[in-house]
């Protein structure tokens, strides 16, 4: 085997393969989904930007009280408002696409805030 002939061929081929492989790099798309809570007294605003339709469930979430008080579809970008009345404690927002998954599957994205509106 003549290394003087083989080495340049292998080197050129491998180098070109490496250069070609980087052309498949896309770089990251920095658009991410998000939701956040803005609280003004007893008014809670859920700001959202989601890339697919999702559902928001609003829960009054205390030890002795756990009840869903609102369920709403959201898509795109916008604000969802919920006014709290006669309640003091934690309020929870579950954001999920389709059904809420169980077991080891991904649970909904959850946010929560504390209010004192009694």
């Amino acid at each position: 085997m003549n290394l003087d002939k083989l080495i340049p061929v292998l080197i050129v081929l491998c180098s070109l393969a490496a250069a070609a492989s980087v052309l498949s790099f896309k770089g990251q798309d920095y658009s991410a989904d998000y939701v956040y809570i803005q609280k003004t007294g007893c008014d809670l605003f859920l700001h959202y930007k989601v890339s697919r339709p999702m559902t928001v469930d609003v829960w009054l979430d205390e030890k002795d009280i756990k009840r869903r008080v609102m369920s709403q579809e959201i898509s795109g970008e916008g604000v969802l408002e919920y006014f709290v009345s006669s309640y003091s404690g934690r309020i929870r927002f579950d954001v999920y696409a389709g059904k809420i998954l169980k077991g080891s599957e991904r649970s909904p994205y959850t946010l929560y805030e504390w209010v004192d509106c009694k």
């Binding site: 085997m1 290394l3 083989l6 180098s15 896309k26 998000y34 956040y36 809570i37």
Partner: protein, 457 residues
Amino acid sequence: MNRKILVLCVLVILLSGLAVRLVPASREKYPIGYDNFFHARMAELYSNGVPRTIPWPEERANLYPPSYHLLLAGASVFFGGDALQASRFLLPALSMLLPLTLLYVLAKIKGWREALVGFFLMTFNPFLITAGYNSPEVVGLALSLAAFYFLYKDRILLAGLAQAACFSFSFMAGVYSSVMLLLLLRGKRLKDAALFLAPSAVFLLAWYGSRYDLLYQSTNFFGSKYVFMSLRDWLFLYSPFILGAVIPVLFCSSYRSRFDRFWAVWSVFFLVAYFSFLVTPVLHPWRMPLYLSVGFVMLVSSALRGAKGQALKVLFIVSFTAACIVTVNTVAHSSLTPPDDALIQWISGQSGQRVMSEYSLCGHLLTLAPQKSCNLDLYFESIPDKQKWDDYERMFWEYSPELVRKNINEYSPDYIVYGSRDWGREILEDSVNVSKVFVSWKCDPLCGQEAAVYVPR
């Protein structure tokens, strides 16, 4: 080897090597490698003169070697003064200096065939490519290789000057120097050793001596536990391969000349240094495979001169390179994920100032939302408040409700931030009364972990 073929090969490797480094960098919004956020901020300081101190997160001595930050400050002129954007490209391009130096050294000492193989192996070495996205050590290593060449040619003063230049880029120059010094002392060449060290001594005195009054501010030991957690799987994959199998074989087959002896000693030295991370992390174990790779490339190039087992050697080179190319394709992405980016943008518009987060996210935050304070800096070699740093880091790594409560009581953060790669938020939720006010995620196509912001009540 035919001259035209040789030039063609060098050009193909050079251009492909630059493409492998610069194409991924050009397609990211931020630099690849979070250290660049620190380097960019340093370059901004240097544009107003050499700073004696680093102002964030708390003022401390500027002990970092100055040359890369000066270069970056200069390069940022071409990017409208934006050092962060300049850092996307400068160091990846400079990382080609090491293969080019190696090409020259091997061509002068061994021959063009060996030089070409060495140039090729080093250009596509995944450790060099990844280090080239955030560590000025890659420039220092090229200078150290030049120092080795001058030493080999008995041009001691030039070797010393190259090594002093290496010190101006990297702390690790001290480690490279010790191998060269070892060989000089072994040959009882005391005068040469003194001449070799003199330029470095002058630089070190000028740079660190002028700051001696500030040295006490820094606590540089941060525990081997951190390093264990930082080592990546791919590093574990390659290192035993290089260390455990290849180098001893090359060591035995190539132990013929002064050249081979040097790189064999170099390899053994770094092999020992690599395992020192079990005791202390001061020798940067996550860069050890890079230093070992230099020795490895030198030895494998040298081994090509032997007539035995040529097919095996070629097969080995090809398979090693294929593995490198696969690795390169899996690691070159910005360390800032889209959910973390959304989180930083959101938090920069909030009124609270004090943010508690893991060090990497904190480093990004300090650059992209500089009006906030974050008590961990990504430049973790020099930590202004070791206790606080340790408390914070453990909070993101240990499942300890007591530690979470202690941190929040002692440091009173406005926000506690978990990036999309952090864990431990369940402990926070279960231990302390917090509101969870922001969540961001990305599904592409699978949904990654959320980035979240908590506010203590």
